[in-house]
């Protein structure tokens, strides 16, 4: 909104702002804490998200202790277990993945990759981070509130979400809803920035079709998030009213502890519509940036131009659009008109087409490429395998007849962890290994990186692959312990114990990663400005790490697309985007640098 717009720049096109006219921080505090520099904000987002993500990781350990070795930790009773599940799921999806991919990578990379000096509304950008931090604080506060955090499941389905019997009924659910609302407000301020920056602040020559796919992915995902998050916001407001003021938006008439509640006539299904109208696009809000980043990682580390760039862009846009008309596939078991079921099953399966196109194009990019198995590349390859795997089980679950029996089993848990848990996390890691040298000027330690990759990748498979099998056996999801279930053979206990052991190992591998982040800050090998010999603009900055305003005196000018690798006849195996066309053209147009 206009109140968020900064002072002077508007009339000058943002791409032409001279370095001297940028906002200049005057003290340490405004430079590193209340910073308006998108690079710092990106780092702040990433660090905060990784920190809260670590909490979610620890929660997953605790859940695995209970599932693998029931009763070993006596403080995990059913109520606590629900709270852990809920907080784990919500933190991972919203506060970690969304925040890192859009707030972290988006802030750091969009201006740099487009040749801009900064985001167009730096002040709103700063507010965005601080609102996000506040949301995280409120979320964490619910751990310490009387009654603890909510245990309603990350989907927060009413009526149970606000009834007694669900843990966190007094404060947990309120704090959760407030925190989500804050997150959405914060995100909206950031999101406006990302979109308008892409639309307005590209440097000269950076046409839309010359943007790296990373930017395409983040851009499309941001547009989606701006349209999808309001659904969660509306739902959260209404649920807060139901909980605090006794309205009946979602609450049907019901008897609680022998007493008729004041609610009546509300529709729990209405919440499901609002939630999944946000919830499904959310999967792609996380996936599209991941798609984009992976495309770039593969292209750089296989020294090959991305295969079918245009189709990749179209596929990103198509997936973004389609993902708004599939939400009810999460509601098959809620019952619906058969035509609806048919419609949503069809749209769900159609999304597989653009997605498959992307996978083929990645494979064709790799085909006969000069593949360097660097750590980022390993993670990118790991992503492709994992995503295909999770996507295939998604095709099964998209069909109503298959979904109904498998719903609420560990099969679903295995599916979504593969496709939206492990896969995007692998990309985030890959992205961090890839761009860390630009952010800090030093390489992350390669040996630690390889250990981190192999343990995480193989470990994730060891955790979630057998889980499909448990699901097929009928082991239910969100169960504190299995108790007496005649159809579940005793061997599931052994398998569960195995999964838990692997989960601890995988968790420890993440500590190696965190250690590496700190260790390499001082001890890492000097990176230079372009350690991977990449073409995109962020590697062509005059300083590394890039200084305030990114580009020194003059903005780069873009002459080519982002994927000129191994061009026949070129002197090096890559040609940066800001390098003028080869000799004959240059002679014809005069010196252009």
């Amino acid at each position: 909104m206009s109140s968020a717009a900064p002072g002077v720049q508007e009339v000058i096109p943002a791409s032409d702002v001279a370095e001297a006219e940028l906002y200049h921080p005057h003290s340490w505090l405004t430079k590193y804490v209340f910073s308006q520099d998108a690079k710092i904000i990106g780092i702040q987002y990433t660090v905060t998200a990784l920190a809260i993500g670590t909490v979610a990781l620890v929660l997953s350990w605790l859940m695995r202790v209970q599932l693998g070795f029931p009763g070993v930790l006596s403080f995990i009773d059913p109520a606590t277990y629900y709270q852990f599940i809920t907080m784990h799921g919500m933190i991972m999806v919203v506060y970690l993945l969304t925040a890192v991919l859009l707030g972290g990578f988006g802030n750091y990379l969009i201006p740099l990759m487009l040749g801009a000096r900064d985001m167009v509304f730096p002040y709103a950008n700063m507010l965005s981070y601080w609102t996000y931090l506040l949301a995280v604080v409120v979320l964490v506060a619910s751990f310490f509130a009387p009654g603890g955090p909510t245990g309603a499941g990350w989907t927060l389905y009413p009526p149970q979400a606000i009834l007694s019997g669900t843990p966190g009924q007094d404060w947990g659910i309120i704090l959760m809803l407030v925190s989500l609302m804050l997150f959405i407000i914060g995100f909206t301020m950031g999101g406006l920035n990302y979109v308008v920056t892409v639309l307005q602040a590209r440097t000269r020559g950076m046409t839309l079709m010359r943007m790296p796919l990373t930017v395409w992915g983040i851009f499309t995902a941001t547009v989606m998030a701006l349209l999808a998050f309001p659904a969660l916001f509306v739902g959260a407001v209404m649920m807060l009213f139901d909980r605090l003021l006794g309205t009946s938006f979602f609450m049907p008439a019901l008897v609680e502890l022998g007493q008729l509640r004041e609610h009546g006539g509300g529709s729990p299904i209405l919440w499901q519509h609002l939630f999944w109208f946000f919830g499904h696009p959310e999967v792609y809000i996380v996936a599209l940036p991941a798609f984009g980043i992976v495309s770039d990682l593969i292209s750089v580390h296989a020294r090959r131009n991305i295969f079918g760039y245009r189709m990749m862009v179209w596929a990103i846009v198509a997936i973004g659009a389609l993902s708004f008309v599939v939400w009810a596939h999460h509601m098959y078991v809620s019952g619906m008109h058969p035509y609806f079921g048919f419609f949503f099953a069809t749209t769900t399966l159609i999304i597989a087409i653009p997605t498959a196109i992307k996978v083929y194009n990645w494979l064709l990019t790799l085909w006969r490429g000069d593949i360097h198995l660097t750590v980022p590349m390993l993670f990118a390859l790991g992503f492709i395998v994992t995503f295909v795997n999770g996507g295939l089980t998604g095709l099964f679950l998209g069909n109503v007849v298959v979904d109904v029996p498998l719903s609420d089993t560990l099969f679903v848990v295995a599916h979504f962890h593969m496709v939206m848990g492990v896969a995007p996390i692998l990309v985030i890691f890959g992205g961090i290994y890839h761009w860390y040298p630009k952010v800090t000027g030093r390489m992350l330690n390669e040996g630690m990186g390889r250990i981190h990759f192999w343990v995480t990748f193989l470990g994730a498979y060891a955790i979630f692959f057998p889980m499909h099998y448990l699901g097929l056996l009928g082991v239910p999801r969100r169960y504190h312990d299995l108790g007496e279930m005649a159809f579940v053979p005793p061997s599931t206990a052994t398998l569960n114990a195995f999964i838990s052991l692997v989960a601890f190992v995988v968790g420890f591998a993440q500590i190696v990663f965190l250690f590496n982040l700190f260790w390499s800050l001082r001890r890492g090998r000097e990176a230079g400005s372009n350690p991977w010999n990449a073409t995109t603009l962020e590697w062509q900055t005059p300083e590394t790490p890039p200084g305030h305003g990114n580009w020194g005196k003059e903005l780069p000018v873009v002459y080519r697309w982002a994927y000129d690798y191994s061009v026949p006849g070129a002197a090096r195996d890559y040609v940066p985007q800001n390098e003028p066309m080869p000799a004959p053209t240059r002679a014809a147009t005069g010196q252009a640098t």
Partner: protein, 233 residues
């Protein structure tokens, strides 16, 4: 969710046309031309920002409307009578919008005094609108149509409150424009600021007209809604 889908379809069409114009079918790998992009984007960033924000805010309101239309179908829905005061408030909001429109054209002419009058009048009438909405709430509550007594009442309060919050946000922006004016900012700067406020005010007015007719007349449109959703019953 029919309304939301219609809204999204509209957004998709506009975005699609725009993308197409941006050369989505070009083949960047064959391009060897020197950069040909115009150096100045056609609209200032702040205006583009406002457009995107209005789209997002519309999406938010449309989702509220969707929720309203879904909840409306439940058996316990008893729409409250709308206070007549709402008609007056609607009039005030129209006046407010007109005043800003006037300020906008004054800014175009460079007539600073008229801009100031327009802003003050527009801002005051917007505040009057908000007070009027508060009084309408009081009237409703006094007549026994409480938040909790029926979901239709609850929607009335939530929808009007959501709209009022957007008006409040607009007032902040308007105050900033007033500040630029007081400080004697350059006319270009002032023009942009007034222009953005006016656009936003028109958005607030249109949004209110739609929401108001929904609140006041939704029951009379139920046959239309029934026809639209008939295939899915």
């Amino acid at each position: 969710m029919i309304f939301t889908l219609l809204f999204l379809a509209a957004v998709a069409v506009i975005a699609g046309i725009w993308l197409f114009r941006q050369g989505l079918t070009s083949k960047p790998w064959l391009e060897s031309a020197a950069p040909a992009m115009a150096s100045a984007p056609p609209v200032p960033a702040a205006r583009m920002g406002l457009r995107v924000f209005i789209t997002v805010a519309t999406g938010f309101l449309v989702l509220l409307v969707s929720a309203y239309s879904i909840r409306m179908e439940m058996a316990d829905w008893r729409p409250p009578p709308q206070p007549g005061l709402l008609w007056v408030n609607t009039g005030v909001l129209i006046v407010s919008s007109l005043a800003l429109q006037w300020a906008r054209s004054a800014a175009g002419r460079g007539d600073i005094q008229a801009v100031q009058d327009g802003l003050v009048f527009g801002g005051t009438s917007a505040i009057v609108f908000l007070l009027g909405q508060l009084m309408a709430w009081r009237e409703m509550a006094n007549a026994g149509y409480l938040l909790t007594s029926n979901p239709a009442n609850a929607f009335f309060y939530i929808i009007t409150a959501a709209h009022a919050l957007h008006v409040l946000g607009g007032l902040v922006a308007l105050a900033r424009a007033g500040m630029w004016l007081r400080r004697g900012a350059a006319i270009g700067r002032l023009r942009l600021s007034v222009d953005l406020c006016t656009t936003y005010w028109h958005f607030l007015l249109v949004a209110w007209l739609v929401l108001f007719s929904l609140l006041a007349f939704a029951p009379s449109f139920s046959w239309l809604y029934a026809i639209c959703t008939a295939p899915f019953r």
